[in-house]
Protein backbone atom coordinates (compact mmCIF):
# COMPACT_ATOMS: atom_id res chain seq x y z
CA UNK A 1 0.00 0.00 0.00
CA UNK A 2 3.07 2.23 0.06
CA UNK A 3 2.26 2.98 -3.57
CA UNK A 4 -0.90 4.69 -2.42
CA UNK A 5 0.95 7.29 -0.47
CA UNK A 6 3.86 7.68 -2.76
CA UNK A 7 2.68 8.32 -6.28
CA UNK A 8 5.59 8.41 -8.67
CA UNK A 9 7.77 11.46 -8.53
CA UNK A 10 8.48 11.57 -12.25
CA UNK A 11 7.05 14.80 -13.66
CA UNK A 12 4.46 14.44 -16.36
CA UNK A 13 3.19 16.81 -18.96
CA UNK A 14 -0.27 15.32 -18.94
CA UNK A 15 -1.65 15.15 -15.43
CA UNK A 16 -0.75 18.48 -13.83
CA UNK A 17 -1.69 17.28 -10.40
CA UNK A 18 -4.69 15.17 -11.37
CA UNK A 19 -5.11 12.56 -14.11
CA UNK A 20 -7.12 13.79 -17.10
CA UNK A 21 -8.42 10.48 -18.52
CA UNK A 22 -11.30 8.88 -16.65
CA UNK A 23 -11.30 5.57 -14.84
CA UNK A 24 -13.20 3.78 -17.62
CA UNK A 25 -10.28 4.06 -20.03
CA UNK A 26 -7.76 3.31 -17.30
CA UNK A 27 -9.61 0.09 -16.43
CA UNK A 28 -9.64 -0.84 -20.11
CA UNK A 29 -5.87 -0.45 -20.13
CA UNK A 30 -5.49 -2.59 -17.00
CA UNK A 31 -7.69 -5.28 -18.57
CA UNK A 32 -5.53 -5.29 -21.69
CA UNK A 33 -2.35 -5.70 -19.62
CA UNK A 34 -3.96 -8.41 -17.50
CA UNK A 35 -5.05 -10.27 -20.65
CA UNK A 36 -1.42 -10.27 -21.75
CA UNK A 37 -0.33 -11.88 -18.48
CA UNK A 38 0.17 -8.75 -16.37
CA UNK A 39 3.11 -7.40 -18.34
CA UNK A 40 3.46 -6.30 -21.96
CA UNK A 41 4.64 -3.53 -24.26
CA UNK A 42 2.68 -0.30 -24.50
CA UNK A 43 3.13 -0.62 -28.26
CA UNK A 44 1.47 -4.06 -28.27
CA UNK A 45 -1.58 -2.68 -26.45
CA UNK A 46 -1.74 0.35 -28.73
CA UNK A 47 -1.79 -1.95 -31.75
CA UNK A 48 -4.35 -4.31 -30.18
CA UNK A 49 -6.78 -1.53 -29.27
CA UNK A 50 -6.04 0.54 -32.39
CA UNK A 51 -4.98 3.63 -30.48
CA UNK A 52 -1.96 5.84 -31.08
CA UNK A 53 0.52 7.47 -28.75
CA UNK A 54 -1.56 10.65 -28.57
CA UNK A 55 -4.66 8.78 -27.39
CA UNK A 56 -3.15 5.99 -25.31
CA UNK A 57 -0.25 8.00 -23.84
CA UNK A 58 -2.36 10.03 -21.38
CA UNK A 59 -4.15 6.85 -20.24
CA UNK A 60 -0.85 5.10 -19.52
CA UNK A 61 0.42 8.19 -17.75
CA UNK A 62 -2.74 8.48 -15.63
CA UNK A 63 -2.60 4.80 -14.65
CA UNK A 64 1.02 5.21 -13.61
CA UNK A 65 0.26 8.40 -11.69
CA UNK A 66 -2.44 6.56 -9.75
CA UNK A 67 0.02 3.75 -8.93
CA UNK A 68 -1.86 1.13 -10.97
CA UNK A 69 0.95 0.31 -13.43
CA UNK A 70 4.69 0.72 -13.70
CA UNK A 71 6.20 1.79 -16.99
CA UNK A 72 9.83 1.39 -18.00
CA UNK A 73 11.22 1.88 -21.49
CA UNK A 74 7.99 0.95 -23.20
CA UNK A 75 7.23 -2.04 -20.96
CA UNK A 76 4.13 -1.79 -18.79
CA UNK A 77 3.42 -3.92 -15.71
CA UNK A 78 0.35 -4.11 -13.50
CA UNK A 79 1.10 -3.21 -9.88
CA UNK A 80 -0.46 -5.04 -6.97
CA UNK A 81 -2.87 -2.13 -6.59
CA UNK A 82 -3.77 -2.21 -10.29
CA UNK A 83 -4.43 -5.92 -10.11
CA UNK A 84 -6.55 -5.47 -6.97
CA UNK A 85 -8.57 -2.70 -8.62
CA UNK A 86 -9.23 -4.85 -11.65
CA UNK A 87 -10.54 -7.71 -9.56
CA UNK A 88 -12.79 -5.55 -7.39
CA UNK A 89 -16.47 -4.75 -7.76
CA UNK A 90 -17.69 -1.25 -8.62
CA UNK A 91 -18.11 -0.17 -4.99
CA UNK A 92 -14.73 -1.48 -3.87
CA UNK A 93 -13.05 0.16 -6.85
CA UNK A 94 -14.41 3.47 -5.73
CA UNK A 95 -12.99 2.96 -2.23
CA UNK A 96 -9.57 2.10 -3.65
CA UNK A 97 -9.49 5.16 -5.89
CA UNK A 98 -10.81 7.36 -3.09
CA UNK A 99 -7.85 6.42 -0.91
CA UNK A 100 -5.52 7.47 -3.74
CA UNK A 101 -7.31 10.71 -4.66
CA UNK A 102 -7.58 11.76 -1.01
CA UNK A 103 -3.78 11.82 -0.86
CA UNK A 104 -3.33 14.07 -3.88
CA UNK A 105 -2.07 17.48 -2.68
CA UNK A 106 -3.98 19.53 -5.26
CA UNK A 107 -7.24 17.73 -4.51
CA UNK A 108 -6.74 18.18 -0.76
CA UNK A 109 -5.90 21.82 -1.19
CA UNK A 110 -9.11 22.57 -3.09
CA UNK A 111 -11.34 20.59 -0.74
CA UNK A 112 -9.66 22.30 2.24
CA UNK A 113 -10.34 25.63 0.59
CA UNK A 114 -14.04 24.88 0.20
CA UNK A 115 -14.20 23.63 3.78
CA UNK A 116 -12.51 26.80 5.05
CA UNK A 117 -14.86 29.01 3.03
CA UNK A 118 -17.87 27.22 4.51
CA UNK A 119 -19.67 27.49 1.17
CA UNK A 120 -19.39 26.17 -2.37
CA UNK A 121 -16.78 27.98 -4.45
CA UNK A 122 -17.36 29.31 -7.92
CA UNK A 123 -15.56 27.75 -10.86
CA UNK A 124 -13.64 30.98 -11.28
CA UNK A 125 -12.44 30.97 -7.66
CA UNK A 126 -11.21 27.40 -8.00
CA UNK A 127 -9.53 27.84 -11.38
CA UNK A 128 -7.71 30.91 -10.06
CA UNK A 129 -6.27 28.77 -7.29
CA UNK A 130 -5.46 25.96 -9.71
CA UNK A 131 -3.71 28.31 -12.11
CA UNK A 132 -1.21 29.18 -9.37
CA UNK A 133 -0.13 25.53 -9.41
CA UNK A 134 -0.62 24.34 -12.97
CA UNK A 135 -0.61 27.63 -14.91
CA UNK A 136 -3.53 29.40 -16.55
CA UNK A 137 -3.19 27.28 -19.67
CA UNK A 138 -3.98 24.04 -17.79
CA UNK A 139 -6.32 25.33 -15.11
CA UNK A 140 -9.57 24.59 -16.98
CA UNK A 141 -8.58 21.02 -17.84
CA UNK A 142 -7.37 20.47 -14.28
CA UNK A 143 -10.65 21.83 -12.95
CA UNK A 144 -12.55 19.34 -15.10
CA UNK A 145 -10.33 16.52 -13.84
CA UNK A 146 -10.91 17.66 -10.28
CA UNK A 147 -14.67 17.66 -10.77
CA UNK A 148 -14.56 14.21 -12.42
CA UNK A 149 -12.44 12.51 -9.76
CA UNK A 150 -14.12 14.41 -6.93
CA UNK A 151 -17.54 13.29 -8.11
CA UNK A 152 -16.36 9.75 -8.74
CA UNK A 153 -14.97 9.35 -5.21
CA UNK A 154 -18.06 11.13 -3.87
CA UNK A 155 -16.12 13.93 -2.17
CA UNK A 156 -17.44 16.90 -4.13
CA UNK A 157 -20.59 18.08 -5.85
CA UNK A 158 -20.59 20.35 -8.84
CA UNK A 159 -23.56 22.32 -10.06
CA UNK A 160 -22.84 22.73 -13.76
CA UNK A 161 -25.61 25.31 -14.24
CA UNK A 162 -24.52 27.59 -11.38
CA UNK A 163 -20.84 26.57 -11.76
CA UNK A 164 -20.44 25.94 -8.04
CA UNK A 165 -18.11 23.37 -6.52
CA UNK A 166 -19.02 22.12 -3.05
CA UNK A 167 -18.32 19.27 -0.68
CA UNK A 168 -20.57 16.25 -0.76
CA UNK A 169 -22.22 15.55 2.57
CA UNK A 170 -23.20 12.14 3.87
CA UNK A 171 -25.73 10.51 1.49
Amino acid sequence: MAELREPRKKPSSTHHGLPKPGLTQILGLLTAIDGAGGETDVARIAVDVRMNIVTIGPVVDAAEFLGLVKVHEGDIVLTELGSKLLRSGLRQRKEIIRSVIDQMPLFRQVTDLIRAAGRPLSRQEVTETLSEHVGTHHSDATFQALVYWGRYVERVTYDGAAELLGLRGPA
Partner: protein, 253 residues
Protein backbone atom coordinates in the same frame (compact mmCIF):
# COMPACT_ATOMS: atom_id res chain seq x y z
CA UNK B 1 -36.86 -25.92 -21.18
CA UNK B 2 -40.51 -25.19 -20.37
CA UNK B 3 -42.85 -22.62 -21.91
CA UNK B 4 -42.43 -20.57 -18.73
CA UNK B 5 -38.73 -20.20 -19.51
CA UNK B 6 -39.39 -18.75 -22.95
CA UNK B 7 -39.00 -14.99 -23.12
CA UNK B 8 -39.02 -14.19 -26.81
CA UNK B 9 -40.24 -16.21 -29.79
CA UNK B 10 -39.34 -14.90 -33.23
CA UNK B 11 -41.33 -16.78 -35.87
CA UNK B 12 -40.61 -16.42 -39.57
CA UNK B 13 -40.12 -12.64 -39.35
CA UNK B 14 -39.68 -10.89 -42.70
CA UNK B 15 -39.45 -7.19 -43.39
CA UNK B 16 -39.49 -5.52 -46.77
CA UNK B 17 -39.41 -1.87 -47.82
CA UNK B 18 -40.44 -0.02 -50.95
CA UNK B 19 -37.75 2.23 -52.31
CA UNK B 20 -37.87 4.02 -55.67
CA UNK B 21 -40.85 1.95 -56.76
CA UNK B 22 -39.04 -1.30 -56.01
CA UNK B 23 -39.51 -3.60 -53.08
CA UNK B 24 -36.46 -4.90 -51.34
CA UNK B 25 -36.30 -7.53 -48.67
CA UNK B 26 -34.33 -6.59 -45.55
CA UNK B 27 -35.13 -9.62 -43.40
CA UNK B 28 -36.32 -13.03 -44.53
CA UNK B 29 -38.02 -15.59 -42.30
CA UNK B 30 -35.91 -14.94 -39.23
CA UNK B 31 -36.59 -17.51 -36.57
CA UNK B 32 -35.10 -18.01 -33.12
CA UNK B 33 -36.05 -18.18 -29.47
CA UNK B 34 -34.73 -16.51 -26.35
CA UNK B 35 -35.03 -18.15 -22.96
CA UNK B 36 -34.46 -17.17 -19.35
CA UNK B 37 -30.77 -16.74 -18.48
CA UNK B 38 -29.80 -16.29 -22.14
CA UNK B 39 -27.18 -13.74 -23.07
CA UNK B 40 -27.44 -13.69 -26.84
CA UNK B 41 -25.57 -11.59 -29.38
CA UNK B 42 -26.64 -11.12 -32.99
CA UNK B 43 -23.84 -10.60 -35.51
CA UNK B 44 -23.80 -10.30 -39.25
CA UNK B 45 -22.33 -8.36 -42.14
CA UNK B 46 -23.05 -4.67 -42.58
CA UNK B 47 -26.59 -4.06 -43.86
CA UNK B 48 -27.88 -7.51 -42.89
CA UNK B 49 -30.79 -5.94 -41.02
CA UNK B 50 -29.72 -6.75 -37.47
CA UNK B 51 -30.69 -3.32 -36.12
CA UNK B 52 -33.99 -3.47 -38.05
CA UNK B 53 -34.59 -6.86 -36.46
CA UNK B 54 -33.93 -5.46 -32.99
CA UNK B 55 -36.38 -2.61 -33.61
CA UNK B 56 -39.01 -5.17 -34.58
CA UNK B 57 -38.25 -7.30 -31.53
CA UNK B 58 -38.85 -4.38 -29.15
CA UNK B 59 -41.98 -3.20 -30.98
CA UNK B 60 -40.49 -0.06 -32.56
CA UNK B 61 -41.09 -1.47 -36.05
CA UNK B 62 -43.47 -4.09 -37.42
CA UNK B 63 -42.62 -7.11 -39.54
CA UNK B 64 -44.12 -7.43 -43.00
CA UNK B 65 -44.89 -11.02 -42.11
CA UNK B 66 -44.22 -13.33 -39.19
CA UNK B 67 -44.70 -12.81 -35.46
CA UNK B 68 -42.78 -11.78 -32.39
CA UNK B 69 -44.10 -13.01 -29.08
CA UNK B 70 -42.76 -11.60 -25.84
CA UNK B 71 -43.67 -13.58 -22.73
CA UNK B 72 -46.28 -15.43 -24.73
CA UNK B 73 -48.04 -12.36 -26.18
CA UNK B 74 -47.53 -10.27 -29.32
CA UNK B 75 -44.84 -7.69 -28.59
CA UNK B 76 -46.11 -4.13 -28.16
CA UNK B 77 -44.45 -0.72 -28.23
CA UNK B 78 -43.53 0.72 -24.87
CA UNK B 79 -43.70 -2.51 -22.88
CA UNK B 80 -41.79 -1.62 -19.70
CA UNK B 81 -40.60 -5.20 -19.41
CA UNK B 82 -38.42 -4.57 -22.46
CA UNK B 83 -35.42 -2.34 -21.78
CA UNK B 84 -33.46 -0.76 -24.60
CA UNK B 85 -29.95 0.67 -24.77
CA UNK B 86 -29.06 2.66 -27.87
CA UNK B 87 -25.75 3.15 -29.67
CA UNK B 88 -26.24 6.93 -29.59
CA UNK B 89 -26.99 6.96 -25.80
CA UNK B 90 -30.25 8.87 -26.48
CA UNK B 91 -29.89 11.20 -23.49
CA UNK B 92 -31.69 14.50 -23.10
CA UNK B 93 -28.93 17.14 -22.91
CA UNK B 94 -30.97 19.55 -20.81
CA UNK B 95 -31.65 16.97 -18.11
CA UNK B 96 -29.21 15.85 -15.42
CA UNK B 97 -28.00 12.27 -15.18
CA UNK B 98 -30.59 11.46 -12.54
CA UNK B 99 -33.41 13.13 -14.48
CA UNK B 100 -32.42 11.18 -17.59
CA UNK B 101 -32.82 7.94 -15.66
CA UNK B 102 -36.04 9.05 -14.01
CA UNK B 103 -37.73 10.06 -17.22
CA UNK B 104 -38.51 6.49 -18.27
CA UNK B 105 -40.06 5.85 -14.86
CA UNK B 106 -41.99 9.11 -15.01
CA UNK B 107 -43.53 8.05 -18.32
CA UNK B 108 -44.80 4.97 -16.50
CA UNK B 109 -46.30 7.08 -13.71
CA UNK B 110 -43.96 5.82 -11.00
CA UNK B 111 -44.34 8.11 -7.93
CA UNK B 112 -41.58 10.73 -7.51
CA UNK B 113 -40.01 9.25 -4.39
CA UNK B 114 -39.87 5.76 -5.88
CA UNK B 115 -38.45 7.19 -9.12
CA UNK B 116 -35.63 8.86 -7.26
CA UNK B 117 -34.85 5.76 -5.22
CA UNK B 118 -34.79 3.55 -8.32
CA UNK B 119 -32.71 6.01 -10.31
CA UNK B 120 -30.15 6.26 -7.51
CA UNK B 121 -30.01 2.49 -7.05
CA UNK B 122 -29.34 1.85 -10.72
CA UNK B 123 -26.91 4.75 -11.09
CA UNK B 124 -25.00 3.26 -8.19
CA UNK B 125 -25.11 -0.10 -9.95
CA UNK B 126 -23.19 1.35 -12.89
CA UNK B 127 -20.76 3.32 -10.71
CA UNK B 128 -22.31 6.75 -11.30
CA UNK B 129 -23.10 7.75 -7.74
CA UNK B 130 -21.58 11.21 -7.43
CA UNK B 131 -22.63 12.21 -10.94
CA UNK B 132 -26.39 12.48 -10.29
CA UNK B 133 -26.58 16.20 -11.02
CA UNK B 134 -24.09 16.20 -13.91
CA UNK B 135 -25.32 17.06 -17.40
CA UNK B 136 -24.57 14.79 -20.37
CA UNK B 137 -22.14 17.39 -21.79
CA UNK B 138 -19.97 16.88 -18.70
CA UNK B 139 -19.69 13.12 -19.27
CA UNK B 140 -17.41 10.96 -21.39
CA UNK B 141 -18.97 8.59 -23.91
CA UNK B 142 -18.53 5.65 -21.56
CA UNK B 143 -20.33 7.48 -18.76
CA UNK B 144 -23.15 8.53 -21.09
CA UNK B 145 -23.68 4.92 -22.03
CA UNK B 146 -23.71 3.93 -18.35
CA UNK B 147 -26.58 6.41 -17.91
CA UNK B 148 -28.34 4.70 -20.82
CA UNK B 149 -27.82 1.32 -19.16
CA UNK B 150 -29.02 2.61 -15.77
CA UNK B 151 -32.11 4.10 -17.43
CA UNK B 152 -32.93 0.78 -19.09
CA UNK B 153 -32.29 -1.22 -15.90
CA UNK B 154 -34.35 1.16 -13.74
CA UNK B 155 -37.45 -0.19 -15.49
CA UNK B 156 -36.43 -3.61 -14.17
CA UNK B 157 -36.96 -5.21 -17.55
CA UNK B 158 -37.36 -8.91 -18.17
CA UNK B 159 -35.37 -8.53 -21.39
CA UNK B 160 -32.59 -6.00 -21.94
CA UNK B 161 -31.95 -5.22 -25.61
CA UNK B 162 -28.84 -3.35 -26.71
CA UNK B 163 -28.16 -2.01 -30.20
CA UNK B 164 -24.39 -1.79 -30.75
CA UNK B 165 -24.03 -0.10 -27.36
CA UNK B 166 -20.23 0.17 -27.41
CA UNK B 167 -19.53 0.78 -31.08
CA UNK B 168 -19.10 4.55 -30.74
CA UNK B 169 -16.65 4.20 -27.86
CA UNK B 170 -12.88 3.74 -27.97
CA UNK B 171 -11.51 0.24 -27.44
CA UNK B 172 -10.39 0.76 -23.81
CA UNK B 173 -13.72 2.27 -22.77
CA UNK B 174 -15.78 -0.39 -24.51
CA UNK B 175 -13.75 -3.19 -22.87
CA UNK B 176 -14.50 -1.76 -19.43
CA UNK B 177 -18.19 -1.45 -20.22
CA UNK B 178 -18.32 -5.02 -21.51
CA UNK B 179 -16.89 -6.20 -18.20
CA UNK B 180 -19.38 -4.07 -16.29
CA UNK B 181 -22.28 -5.55 -18.26
CA UNK B 182 -21.00 -9.00 -17.29
CA UNK B 183 -20.82 -7.88 -13.65
CA UNK B 184 -24.41 -6.64 -13.85
CA UNK B 185 -25.41 -9.88 -15.57
CA UNK B 186 -23.90 -11.93 -12.78
CA UNK B 187 -25.72 -9.88 -10.12
CA UNK B 188 -29.00 -11.69 -9.74
CA UNK B 189 -30.57 -8.83 -7.78
CA UNK B 190 -30.65 -6.29 -10.60
CA UNK B 191 -30.21 -8.32 -13.71
CA UNK B 192 -32.85 -8.77 -16.38
CA UNK B 193 -33.81 -12.37 -17.17
CA UNK B 194 -32.15 -12.23 -20.56
CA UNK B 195 -29.97 -9.94 -22.66
CA UNK B 196 -30.13 -9.58 -26.44
CA UNK B 197 -27.43 -7.50 -28.04
CA UNK B 198 -26.71 -6.54 -31.62
CA UNK B 199 -23.06 -5.99 -32.42
CA UNK B 200 -20.85 -5.81 -35.49
CA UNK B 201 -17.88 -7.04 -33.46
CA UNK B 202 -17.50 -10.81 -33.51
CA UNK B 203 -14.85 -10.62 -30.78
CA UNK B 204 -17.31 -8.72 -28.60
CA UNK B 205 -20.02 -11.30 -29.21
CA UNK B 206 -17.70 -14.19 -28.28
CA UNK B 207 -16.51 -12.28 -25.20
CA UNK B 208 -20.03 -11.66 -23.90
CA UNK B 209 -22.58 -14.15 -25.16
CA UNK B 210 -23.71 -17.64 -24.26
CA UNK B 211 -25.08 -17.91 -27.76
CA UNK B 212 -24.25 -16.02 -30.95
CA UNK B 213 -26.85 -15.77 -33.70
CA UNK B 214 -25.07 -15.37 -37.03
CA UNK B 215 -27.01 -13.65 -39.80
CA UNK B 216 -26.46 -13.74 -43.53
CA UNK B 217 -26.10 -10.67 -45.73
CA UNK B 218 -29.23 -9.02 -47.16
CA UNK B 219 -31.83 -10.28 -46.94
CA UNK B 220 -30.86 -11.10 -43.38
CA UNK B 221 -31.74 -14.52 -42.15
CA UNK B 222 -30.36 -16.75 -39.40
CA UNK B 223 -27.44 -18.71 -40.77
CA UNK B 224 -26.27 -20.37 -37.57
CA UNK B 225 -26.54 -20.27 -33.81
CA UNK B 226 -23.30 -20.90 -31.93
CA UNK B 227 -23.34 -21.92 -28.27
CA UNK B 228 -20.21 -20.34 -26.81
CA UNK B 229 -19.10 -22.83 -24.19
CA UNK B 230 -16.06 -20.92 -22.92
CA UNK B 231 -15.90 -20.30 -19.17
CA UNK B 232 -15.89 -16.68 -17.94
CA UNK B 233 -13.87 -14.55 -17.62
CA UNK B 234 -12.91 -15.05 -21.26
CA UNK B 235 -9.52 -14.05 -22.55
CA UNK B 236 -9.36 -12.94 -26.20
CA UNK B 237 -5.70 -14.03 -26.22
CA UNK B 238 -6.62 -17.70 -25.60
CA UNK B 239 -6.61 -19.99 -28.65
CA UNK B 240 -10.08 -21.36 -27.78
CA UNK B 241 -11.43 -17.81 -27.90
CA UNK B 242 -9.84 -17.20 -31.28
CA UNK B 243 -11.24 -20.54 -32.45
CA UNK B 244 -14.78 -19.26 -31.93
CA UNK B 245 -14.01 -15.90 -33.56
CA UNK B 246 -12.54 -17.73 -36.56
CA UNK B 247 -15.53 -20.07 -36.74
CA UNK B 248 -18.02 -17.18 -36.82
CA UNK B 249 -15.97 -15.18 -39.32
CA UNK B 250 -15.93 -18.21 -41.61
CA UNK B 251 -19.73 -18.42 -41.38
CA UNK B 252 -20.09 -14.81 -42.49
CA UNK B 253 -17.32 -14.42 -45.08
Amino acid sequence: MTAADTILEVEEVSRSYREGGKEFLALERVKFQLNKEDFVCIVGPSGCGKSTLLRILVGLDRPTSGTVRFLGEPVRTGDARLGMVFQSFALFPWLTVEQNVEIGLEARHVPAEERRAKARKHLDGVGLTGFENAYPRELSGGMKQRVGIARALSLEPVLLCMDEPFSSLDALTSQTLRDEILQIWSDREVTPNAILMVTHSIEEAVYLADRVIVMTGRPGTVKAQCEIDLPRPRNPKEPEFFGWVDEIYSLII
